[in-house]
Subunit: 114 residues, 2 copies
Amino acid sequence: MLEGPQALDRMFQALSDQSRRGMIDRLGRGPASVTELAQPLDMALPTVMKHLQVLETSGLVQSEKAGRVRTYHLRKEALAVVERWIAERKASWNITFDRLDLFLADTSTETIDE
Amino acid sequence: MLEGPQALDRMFQALSDQSRRGMIDRLGRGPASVTELAQPLDMALPTVMKHLQVLETSGLVQSEKAGRVRTYHLRKEALAVVERWIAERKASWNITFDRLDLFLADTSTETIDE
DNA sequence: AGGATAGTTATCCATTTGGATAACTATTTC
DNA sequence: GAAATAGTTATCCAAATGGATAACTATCCT
């Protein structure tokens, strides 16, 4: 997985796009072809493919080609890298998961005007 | 916080840079001025400021200016947005936190050559 | 007041990113 | 074998990103 800072860079980068997160959610319900992944996305196919390449490079997703169909599936474990990063920070700051959730409930209505 | 997809976009984007994650770690140990944040970073000041703007726009960080010093501090709760996103996915996929950690332990030595 | 300190603004620049089209290759399918 | 299907490659383009320098403003400090 090429651990190290760049792995996190690419992982967070991959997650920073709504369309890509959408693809992740779709793949969470099972493997899918390029066309299937593209279908809800109002985007040209080559554009979809670029997103898929970003996801695959990050390690979040993997694909194999059979005949003319390339099938993508999620590498669910990959998200653990991010989870671990967050867990480490939360541990070193002194926030418990529970307190964090409580705080979140209180502040979830805050707004940054933009 | 301008919830919605774009909030996550900006959050993940903010986290996708090593220098910015370094600033977050520094701020985890307490508030700091622009110069203090810049000091370990081998980067021109204006560049550091851009990173800080990205962090502040994402909501991960906040700053106030007193005299000529602008002091940044972490908004630790902000990371909960990301945590929640991950937690939701893990819940809908059927991975338990424990299994995920175990899997991670097994696969942490994998490498993508690059 | 004058110098040092802390940050800010304005540009500039190369690279990356997210999008598109056009044209092409490989498989099925009829 | 011809047409439809699935994906790929090659370009192109505008905007965003990550970096720099130069020049400036606003506070301290003596």
